[in-house]
C-alpha cells in the first residue's frame, strides 16, 4: 500500500476540519472493507485516512418510538443483532445480513456502503425502500438528504468538500408495515448483486389494501433507483396478481441496466420483474403478520 497518514478525530468538528483541509486527498475510514482494498490495489489515490470510529455518535445505534438512527460507521453485525431492529426493521436486517461474509459484517457499515456509492451496494435499495434519510455533517453545519438522492454516479455521491455522512435515519414503521430486501447472485453468498430489490409496503387496518409502498432497485442503473411509478401502482390495490404484475413491469421499465461480467442487460431486466414479485411477497407477508 502507498504511504498514508492516519488520523482518528474524536469529534465530528475535528473530522470535518481534517476533511475540509485535505479535500479529496482525504477519505473517511469506517470499516475499511472497501477503502483499504481500494488503496492497496491503487484504485484510490489518497494521502490520509480519517478514522471516524472514535467519534461516539458515528458507531451509535439508537432506536425509539420515533425511529432508528444508525451512526454511519456502525458495523452491520450491530444492526442485525439488535433485538429491536430485528423485530421492527426486517427489511434492513435482510440487507445487513448479506453484505459480505461474517468477517465483513463485523466491520462494514451502511454508511460505508452508501459512501462507496456502488450501483450494486446492497444496503442502498433497502434504505431507499424504507425512506431513509442521510444526515450529513460539514463545514456549514448539518444537512439532511433522502437516501435516493445520495448517490449521483458510480462511485460518486452528494458529499461536498469537508462533508461526511454522520448517520442514517429511518422513521418508525407505521402499523401494518412490512419490508424486505432480496438480491440475485449466482452463488450463495459473498458476491456482488446482479440485481437487488428493496420493497416496503403499508397495509390498511383490515390488512388488505396497500396504502403506501416504496421500491428501490440496485445494479440496474448508474445509481440505485427509487421507482416511484411501480410503487404507486400498488397503492389502493389488494396487491392481487394483476397489481403485482403491473408493478413488476413498471419497475422493469424503469431499470436501465448495462451488460457486464455479472449479467447482460436483458437478463437484469428479467431479474427485476422476478425479484420485485418475490420481494413484494415477503414484504406483504411481514406486513400481514405485523
Amino acid at each position: 500500500m502507498k504511504d498514508i497518514d492516519y488520523a482518528a478525530p474524536k469529534t465530528l468538528a475535528e473530522a470535518v476540519a481534517l476533511l475540509d483541509g485535505k479535500g479529496d486527498r482525504a477519505r473517511v475510514l469506517a470499516g475499511g472493507t472497501d477503502l483499504i482494498v481500494q488503496v492497496r490495489e491503487g484504485r484510490r489515490d489518497i494521502d490520509v485516512m480519517v478514522d471516524v470510529k472514535r467519534i461516539p455518535d458515528l458507531t451509535r445505534l439508537t432506536v425509539d418510538a420515533n425511529g432508528l438512527r444508525i451512526g454511519a460507521a456502525t458495523p452491520c453485525c450491530d444492526i442485525y443483532e439488535h433485538p429491536e431492529v430485528k423485530k421492527s426493521y426486517p427489511g434492513l436486517v435482510d440487507a445487513a445480513f448479506l453484505i459480505g461474509g461474517i468477517q465483513i459484517q463485523s466491520r462494514a457499515s451502511l454508511g460505508g456502503n452508501l459512501c462507496n456509492s456502488s450501483p450494486a451496494g446492497d444496503a442502498i435499495p433497502a434504505l431507499i425502500a424504507l425512506g431513509a434519510v442521510c444526515v450529513i455533517a460539514g463545514p456549514k453545519g448539518e444537512r439532511e438528504l433522502p437516501v435516493e438522492s445520495f448517490c449521483v454516479s458510480p462511485g460518486r455521491n452528494a458529499l461536498a468538500r469537508g462533508e461526511l455522512l454522520a448517520a442514517i435515519k429511518i422513521s418508525a414503521p407505521r402499523t401494518g408495515s412490512g419490508a424486505a430486501y432480496l438480491r440475485f447472485i449466482p452463488r450463495n453468498e459473498m458476491d456482488i448483486a446482479v440485481v437487488g430489490v428493496g420493497v416496503s409496503v403499508v397495509l390498511d387496518a383490515a390488512k388488505s389494501k396497500v396504502v403506501a409502498a416504496r421500491i428501490g432497485l440496485g445494479a440496474v442503473a448508474p445509481t440505485p433507483l427509487l421507482v416511484k411509478d411501480a410503487a404507486d401502482a400498488l397503492v389502493g390495490t389488494t396487491a392481487d396478481d394483476a397489481a403485482v404484475e403491473n408493478a413488476a413491469s413498471l419497475a422493469q421499465a424503469a431499470a436501465k441496466p448495462i451488460s457486464d461480467m455479472r449479467g447482460d442487460a436483458d437478463y437484469r431486466k428479467h431479474l427485476v420483474a422476478v425479484l420485485v414479485k418475490r420481494t413484494l411477497a415477503i414484504a406483504l407477508e411481514r406486513a400481514r403478520k405485523s
Partner: protein, 212 residues
C-alpha cells in the same frame, strides 16, 4: 524500536534479522505523532491540533492472545502484516489480501474480522485472538482437534482462518447448530475443497449425527 523482546519466540529469527535492518533504515525518517499540516479554510477551525500518524512508523501496542506486544508500524501496515511481519504471530495467513478468502481471519473483541482489511493502528486497545490461542501447551482446542480427527484439511493454509471463524461462532453460541456454524464460515474459502471433511468436523463439534 525492535520488538524482539515481545516476540512469541525467543532467539533471533530470520524475521528479526530482516526487521532489524528495516528498522535501521526507517529510523531516520522519524517517528510519527506529528500533526497534519492542513490548510484550514477561512472560517474553519484549524485541524492542526488533531494528532496524525504517518507516513513514517508509529509506536503501537497490540493485545494479542492476552499479551501486550509493541512494535512500530507505518499507518499503511495492515493488522495482518503487523501480526505476521512485525510480531511474528504467523497463524493468520496472507492469501487474497483483499477481504474475500478468510485465511487471515482473527477475532477482534470476539468478532471474526479479516486482518488484511484493517490497519494495525486501528486495532490498538482491542483484544486480538489468532489461531495460536487455540492450543494451550500441547492441548488443542476442540475445533482444531476435530479438524485433525476428521482430516478436514489438505494443504492446511486456510485452516487457521477456518478454525478461528468456527471458534467465534461457538464462543458466541455454544449451542450452535451445524447450519449456524456453516453460516459463520461463508467468508472462508478452502481451495483444496475439504468442505465435506469440515462438515464431518462441524457435525461432531455440534454433537449431531451426520447423514451420509
Amino acid at each position: 524500536m525492535s520488538s524482539s523482546k515481545d516476540s512469541p519466540k525467543s532467539g533471533l529469527s530470520r524475521r528479526d534479522f530482516l526487521r532489524a535492518g528495516g528498522a535501521a533504515a526507517t529510523s531516520v525518517t522519524g517517528l510519527a505523532g506529528a500533526t497534519l499540516e492542513t490548510q484550514a479554510q477561512p472560517g474553519q477551525p484549524p485541524a492542526s491540533h488533531i494528532p496524525v500518524l504517518g507516513p513514517g512508523p508509529a509506536k503501537i501496542s497490540l493485545n494479542v492472545n492476552g499479551r501486550e506486544m509493541s512494535t512500530a508500524v507505518e499507518p499503511r501496515v495492515t493488522l495482518l502484516d503487523a501480526l505476521r511481519n512485525y510480531l511474528d504471530v504467523t497463524g493468520c495467513k496472507r492469501v487474497c489480501d483483499r477481504g474475500t478468502c478468510g485465511a487471515c481471519t482473527v477475532m477482534l473483541e470476539g468478532k471474526p474480522v479479516y486482518s488484511c482489511s484493517m490497519l494495525a493502528v486501528e486495532a490498538q486497545g482491542k483484544a486480538i485472538r489468532t489461531a495460536e490461542s487455540l492450543v494451550d501447551g500441547g492441548k488443542l482446542d476442540p475445533v482444531p482437534e476435530k479438524f485433525v480427527q476428521f482430516d478436514a484439511q489438505q494443504c492446511g493454509f486456510c485452516t487457521p482462518g477456518f478454525v478461528v471463524a468456527m471458534r467465534a461462532v461457538l464462543d458466541r453460541n455454544p449451542k450452535a447448530t451445524p447450519e449456524d456454524v456453516e453460516q459463520g464460515l461463508q467468508g472462508n474459502i478452502c481451495r483444496c475443497g475439504t468442505y465435506e471433511q469440515m462438515r464431518d468436523a462441524i457435525y461432531s463439534l455440534c454433537n449431531r449425527p451426520r447423514r451420509s
